[in-house]
């Protein structure tokens, strides 16, 4: 089966500055793939190349097996693209806006009216059919823009930060819509700079930083691959210094850091190189040694920390 998105050694250079430094990305049919990375990581550039708005400096990108530079028009027929920043036309009503784009994709007139109704229903704007586009709220515009990407029933949706600038409720709505589109058989590529935002939605994520794809795969896999060097958070009621000394004797423990300590609780952050059962053994050992542990757990259950860890590791190797 042809992957919907396939890039090989994708490179984009702006005036000598490397925005995308060799990305190999494969997204299969029906996936919801989240591209996550800090601002300026190369997410938007990658997406714009896939949306045929930018030509790559080197490497190749294929959408549904079609090279984006060789035949951009055929690629455009198969994708719906929503930029991270976009405007709307003044003086157009919602249905006229969608009708215009449907005509751009040569949707026959007979099908347009019915289709616009369906799309507005999907994005929950049915009652705004005759409203002016400029009068819509930001969340509504975002949903209208999403609807416009669907007028030609594309196989692939490329959505650049579809939830940015939305309030929490609109974010949830957006997520629900994307999930629904996924069940309709669309392959979706979304980007975000917040890992938690895409984690629940996506079947796979790619963590991208400084133009390189650092990790790619299911979130659970990425998490597992990082678990070997988990960060433990331990609260000790007794003497903190003694606990640090004790922990220091264990070869699997890295540099222990006392994060905070008040009258009776000392919080320690302990880099620990071992799976879950050796973590349990460590806890037993601490208690047996007489340390009063009030709390013991993994600090890296936080997705943001995974993210920071992945991008941070890269920094070390780059340095």
């Amino acid at each position: 089966m042809t992957p919907i998105i396939e890039t090989r050694g994708l490179v984009k250079r702006y005036d000598g500055e490397l925005a995308v430094a060799g990305i190999d990305l494969v997204v299969g049919p029906g996936e919801i793939y989240g591209l996550v990375g800090p601002n300026g990581a190369g997410k938007t550039t990658t997406m714009r190349i896939l949306a045929t708005l930018l030509a790559p400096t080197a490497g190749e990108a294929r959408v549904c097996g079609i090279d984006v530079t060789a035949d951009p028009v055929e690629v455009r027929r198969r994708i719906g693209y929503m930029p991270d920043f976009y405007g709307v036309y003044d003086d157009l009503r919602v249905w006229e806006y969608l009708d215009f784009f449907a005509r751009c994709y040569s949707v026959p007139a007979a099908r347009r009216a019915g289709m616009i109704g369906e799309l507005l229903e999907i994005v929950g704007l049915t009652d705004k059919h005759d409203a002016y586009v400029e009068a819509l709220s930001r969340g509504m515009r975002q949903r209208l823009c999403l609807a416009h990407t669907l007028v030609h029933d594309p196989q692939l949706l490329i959505l650049d930060e579809p939830a940015s600038g939305l309030d929490p409720r609109s974010r949830v709505e957006m997520r629900e819509i994307l999930r629904e589109l996924s069940t309709m058989g669309k392959t979706i590529l979304v980007s975000s700079h917040i890992l938690t935002e895409v984690a629940e939605l996506c079947t796979a994520v790619g963590i991208i930083d400084r133009g390189r794809l650092l990790r790619s795969g299911q979130i659970a896999e990425i998490e597992r691959s990082l678990r070997a060097t988990a960060l433990l958070r331990i609260d000790v009621l007794s003497d903190g210094e003694a606990a640090i000394a004790w922990l220091g004797t264990d070869p699997r423990v890295g540099d222990v850091l006392a994060v905070s300590s008040n009258a009776d609780v000392t919080r320690l952050e302990v880099p620990f190189d071992g799976p879950a059962d050796s973590q349990a053994a460590l806890l037993q050992g601490m208690i047996a040694a007489g340390h009063t542990v009030s709390s013991f757990g993994q600090a890296t259950s936080d997705l943001e920390e995974i993210f920071l860890k992945v991008t941070g590791n890269d920094e070390e190797t780059a340095a």
Partner: protein, 382 residues
């Protein structure tokens, strides 16, 4: 590929281009003609046009009673046909005013065409559709010009008032409309090109209007300065001995318009004076072949030589020095500039339109005027 399939495919390409242009146009026109704004502007425009015609009438009537015509011997033969003078005055004022209006309006409708889409970040949405960049540019241009063309057409009945008085023929009025339409297209394309070239609408507007100003006024002044630099004029008249190349003025719609008006004049008016300078007849010089003479008995200036004063009375044809080699022969043809202007402007418009198409395409993503060959179909998902 067989020979029979090729034309069919090309036709479908043309058709696809046509539908794309219509798609863009219908969207643009929908927002432009929304509400009453367009109709109010049109009404105001026609009211102003009618007022100008009336003003020209009032002014010309007073003048016409005292205006005299002169016979071939220079003696006053009587009062000119008053009605024709009124007609010519209206024709002159309306034509020049309409041209000025076109010069102001046509770029105004197009300088935002592309740059505004960039500024409002709507261009990306448009560029990711399969619409061809050429169709986008042409659609934008046509919809922008639609209103200007509508204004020109709506003004024709006002211009037709002239026919009531005489002095300008139906052909003259048609010629003036041709200049207006060609100028509207050319100025519109200049605005569009600037819009595609320059990222910001503000910059595009400045450059577009500067270009329009240069073409309508600047080229004439360059021509004058060049002519003045070419050498002495013995009698203070411009353009007598040598004139700058007239090709400079081919891209000037104002000259084409002035020529049309000047050609209708019975006695030399303002337009006639400008044209006489361009044609090299302002010194009252007439030529027959190589032999030139002055109509007022003055000297025929010859470049590089002291003026030779002919000893003959006004309008006597006296032998002048053999001047053809050093003298730019005056232009005697009427209607000289209109076809040249129309051709030059049409060429410029075509060139800039194609350049604009090229500018809209993202760099590196090949631009092709012709349709690309079809790509083998990829299996679609159920």
């Amino acid at each position: 590929m067989t020979a029979t399939t090729l034309p069919r495919q090309r036709r479908s390409g043309v058709r696809e281009f046509g539908t794309s242009v219509v798609t863009i146009m219908s969207k643009e026109l929908r927002s432009r003609f929304r509400g009453r704004r367009a109709f109010i502007i049109l009404t105001l425009y026609l009211a102003v046009l009618a007022l100008i015609a009336y003003g020209a009438y009032v002014g010309a009537v007073a003048d016409a009673t005292t205006r005299q015509t002169f016979g071939p011997d220079g003696s006053a033969v009587g009062v000119a046909n008053r009605s024709a003078i009124v007609g010519q005055a209206i024709f002159a004022l309306l034509s020049v005013f309409q041209l000025m209006l076109v010069a102001f309006l046509a770029p105004a409708f197009t300088t935002g065409a592309i740059s505004l889409e960039r500024e409002k970040a709507t261009l990306d949405l448009l560029m990711t559709t399969p619409l061809r960049p050429g169709a986008i540019v042409v659609g934008k241009l046509l919809s922008a010009l639609a209103f200007v063309v509508l204004m020109i057409l709506a003004g024709i009945p006002v211009s037709a008032l002239v026919l009531m008085y005489g002095g300008a023929s139906v052909e003259d009025i048609i010629r003036a409309q041709v200049v207006l339409l060609v100028a509207a297209v050319g100025f519109g394309v200049i605005g569009l090109f600037c819009s595609a070239l320059i990222k910001r609408t503000q910059g595009a507007t400045v450059i577009a209007y500067s270009t329009v100003l240069f073409l309508t006024v600047g080229t004439f002044f360059v021509w004058r300065l060049w002519t003045a630099g070419l050498g002495g004029t013995t009698d203070g008249a411009f353009g007598v001995t040598s004139r700058a190349p007239e090709e400079l003025l081919y891209l000037n719609p104002a000259i084409a318009m002035v020529e049309i008006v000047a050609d209708t004049e019975i006695t030399r008016g303002d337009m006639g004076t400008i044209m006489a300078e361009i044609r090299g007849t302002s010194g009252g010089i007439e030529c027959e072949g190589d032999v030139c003479f002055t109509t007022d008995g003055g000297a025929v200036p010859v470049k590089g030589e002291p003026a030779v004063v002919n000893d003959c009375g006004p309008n006597e044809r006296c032998a002048a020095p053999p001047v053809a080699a050093v003298f730019d022969p005056p232009l005697t043809e009427t209607g000289h500039f209109l076809p040249r202007f129309a051709l030059a402007f049409a060429g410029l418009s075509l060139l800039l339109t194609i350049a604009s198409m090229r500018l809209v395409v993202p760099a590196g993503l090949g631009f092709n005027l012709r349709r690309r060959r079809a790509v083998p179909a990829v299996e679609t998902q159920p």
